[in-house]
């Protein structure tokens, strides 16, 4: 048992994550070819617009359900909505935010862009602390909008006229996952501007604009889009209940900042928060790079149902850092 643990703690999570992401990408984007369907309420961007997907992103169905008029939402079909949310939460609770770091196809694309940039030797951008704080509220605004806009289709707010159905899935329309992920199925049809109505035109225009910005942004900044991701905001509601946890022992921390240094999303609390045991923040994607970069024994660890899966150890740290590289 202790030798297994030692093996795990000495392992290189980054390499594992690279291959796991590849596997998850193939599964979620091409799973349809093998008639794989993991679920319809996945807490990750398994884009529904990709025909051959192996599971579906919850946000589309969720936005669709939000179009129900109140009468429906608070009666029988409301149970369906709750079941959907519960299924989503169930999926989420199993892996917590690791859905973002290990499974999200859009996140994987961003990581690939990062690899490309690194190989080209172009330096990355960073947000300063205040900018980071300001930007990270955007995801909550997006989450509110993706609930409220569809609601305004089925219901009238303050006596205003209801919105038409072209407002149906507002977030999907601006999500770069919609435009990019179907490309991997050979479907380029999402790259168009839809002139069939003004709403569609604006949304599809925004979608393409965001896609362009996404590509440039993710090239310059690691996990650029994740800071704005409303899915991540929705995750955070359930994060505390998750079985997979990332914990920190503040007493063992020397605040050396190695974890902060390697954090792709730039969470400063991972280095400087000495008081909280549960260290998963809303922007965290549980890539566990922080654990692998921590040189103190047992300071950071990922646990599942309380059982440590991956712990920071000096031995593992030096082994990873000193292993033969190119």
């Amino acid at each position: 048992m202790s030798s297994i643990r030692r093996f795990l703690n000495n392992s290189d999570i980054n390499r594992f994550r690279f291959y796991f992401q590849l596997f998850a990408f193939v599964l979620l984007v091409y799973g349809g070819y093998l008639a794989i369907n993991i679920g319809e309420q996945l807490p990750t961007f398994a884009c529904v617009f990709g025909e051959k997907r192996g599971g579906s992103c919850y946000l589309l169905g969720f936005q669709h359900q939000m179009t129900f008029p109140y009468a429906r939402l608070f009666s029988g079909p409301g149970i369906g909505v709750l079941i959907g949310l519960a299924t989503f939460a169930g999926f989420f609770i199993i892996f917590n935010k690791a859905w973002c770091g290990f499974a999200c196809p859009l996140g994987t694309i961003q990581d690939w862009l990062t690899i490309l940039r690194r190989k080209m030797g172009i330096y990355y951008s960073n947000y300063s602390e205040p900018v980071f704080k300001g930007l990270s509220t955007i995801k909550y605004i997006l989450l509110a909008l993706l609930i409220l806009i569809p609601m305004a289709i089925g219901n009238s707010f303050f006596g205003l006229p209801t919105l038409n159905h072209d407002f149906g899935v507002p977030f999907c329309m601006i999500c770069p996952g919609r435009t990019l992920l179907p490309l991997f199925n050979g479907d380029i049809s999402q790259l168009t501007i839809d002139f069939s109505s003004k709403t569609k035109m604006v949304f599809s225009g925004l979608g393409m604009g965001v896609t362009g910005m996404f590509l440039a942004g993710a090239f310059a900044k690691k996990r650029f889009f994740c800071l704005f991701c409303p899915m991540s905001a929705l995750h955070y509601i359930f994060s505390r209940a998750s079985l997979l946890r990332l914990t920190k022992d503040g007493e063992k921390c020397t605040r050396c900042g190695n974890c902060y240094r390697v954090c792709d999303v730039g969470i400063r609390a991972i280095a400087d928060d000495l008081d909280h045991k549960n260290i998963v923040k809303d922007d965290c994607m549980m890539c566990l790079k922080c654990v692998s970069a921590c040189p103190e024994d047992d300071c950071l660890k990922a646990t599942y149902l309380g059982i440590p899966l991956y712990e920071s150890t000096a031995e593992g740290f030096f082994r990873r850092r000193l292993k033969k590289d190119d």
Partner: protein, 383 residues
């Protein structure tokens, strides 16, 4: 040999045209072919069977969306609330809404059939169905069974569809057959209707399942029209104006050559073609939707499409003791189409905006980085 424009063909046109309130000539409303069309749910058994029209909601959605006069729109409406109650989905949005609001988007699929109903009721048009008429269903899993056709009073019949995943989940083919001797010719008629029984709530286990998705032919059908690629891997209508129809014609399960196919759209475009040696005819559908300005364009604008296949077989045959030396087979099938995505989707604008977004942000980042290289010049107080 009959003329290419058979009377049945004209009847088809007529019935479609009538529906739209644009009736030209009633005198020709005599038909050879029989048709299947969904019946209104609230229709009384003794009631007047309506004109054949396409699945529930077509009338409404097309009227609503194309902004046609209220007349048709009202005609289509009364059925809705009750039907909605029956299906247990009150206040369901019509048209582009539905289970796959998002899908509807730019690909312009049509989805009324993408809605599960526990019982689907059909009527046969015209009403003069012969007493021996029988109906069959070729289910989505490839099995066939008989259906009851109440021919005494009305030509309305129902198909029960279990509301779950099972043999019915997917495209179901409904057939009605009858035959009679008329003017010394044995007239064998077939009507075919396709319904897609699917709810996203059942899951998508059959999504992209080629066995489930394929267009089927019933072995016992005297003349069967099979059109490929009418729906996509997730059971949405996938026929767009301008698409090529690949029509295969079978008689008792075998492809037949030289069958005259007649295709007509709601707007009056017609096309005739004979099947080749393999029993296949390829027809390119017309592109017939050109609103005056793009603001008037509706991507869900439905076009309707009807087709008949017919051929006459020489040779003696015996029907109820009577011997005739000719058999005339006729078969009908109808479907719908929506504008092609190319009519309203622009790749060039998409890529333009995408590139602008990319280059704009890229340039912004680059400028920012350049600026950061310069030393800070001065501090400005905010007074």
């Amino acid at each position: 040999m009959k003329g290419v424009y058979s009377r049945g063909f004209f009847a088809t046109c007529l019935s479609l045209v009538l529906l739209l309130g644009l009736c030209p000539d009633l005198s020709m409303a005599k038909t050879d072919a029989i048709w299947i069309a969904p019946a209104k749910a609230e229709r009384k058994p003794s009631g007047q069977p309506g004109q054949p029209h396409h699945p529930e909601g077509h009338g409404e959605s097309s009227a609503q969306q194309s902004g046609r006069p209220a007349q048709t729109s009202q005609a289509g409406r009364p059925g809705r609330p009750e039907q909605a109650k029956q299906s247990g989905r009150p206040g369901r949005p019509s048209g582009s809404g539905g289970e796959h609001a998002g899908h509807g988007g730019s690909s312009g699929r049509f989805e009324s059939e993408h809605r599960p109903l526990p019982v689907r009721t059909y009527q046969i048009v015209p009403e003069q169905l012969l007493p021996e008429a029988r109906a069959m269903i070729l289910q989505a899993d490839g099995t066939a069974r008989d259906l009851d056709v109440e021919t005494c009073h009305t030509n309305v019949f129902s198909v029960k569809l279990p509301m779950e995943e099972g043999p019915m989940h997917g495209p179901n083919n409904i057939y009605v057959f009858d035959q009679q001797i008329k003017d010394g010719v044995l007239e064998v008629r077939t009507a075919k209707w396709l319904t897609i029984h699917h709810s996203c709530g059942w899951g998508h286990d059959y999504r992209n399942d080629p066995e489930r998705l394929k267009a089927r032919s019933l072995e016992s059908a005297p003349l069967d029209i099979v059109v490929d690629n009418l729906w996509d891997g997730n059971f949405h209508n996938a026929l767009h104006s301008g698409d090529e129809l690949v029509i295969r014609v079978f008689s008792y399960g075998k492809p037949v050559a030289g069958v005259t196919l007649t295709i007509i759209t709601e707007k009056g475009w017609t096309k005739r073609k004979k099947t080749d040696a393999d029993g296949i005819a390829r027809v390119q559908l017309i592109r017939d939707y050109y609103p005056s300005t793009w603001q008037l364009f509706k991507r869900t604008e439905l076009g309707k499409l009807a087709m008949t296949a017919e051929f006459t077989k020489e040779g003696a045959s015996n029907y109820k003791g009577e011997v005739v030396d000719k058999t005339h087979y006729i078969s009908s099938f109808s479907w719908k189409y929506v504008p092609a995505g190319d009519d309203y989707n622009s790749y060039s604008y998409g890529l333009l905006i995408g590139s602008l977004g990319f280059l704009g942000s890229g340039f912004g980042i680059f400028q920012y980085r350049l600026k950061r290289r310069k030393p800070k010049k001065t501090v400005v107080f905010d007074e």
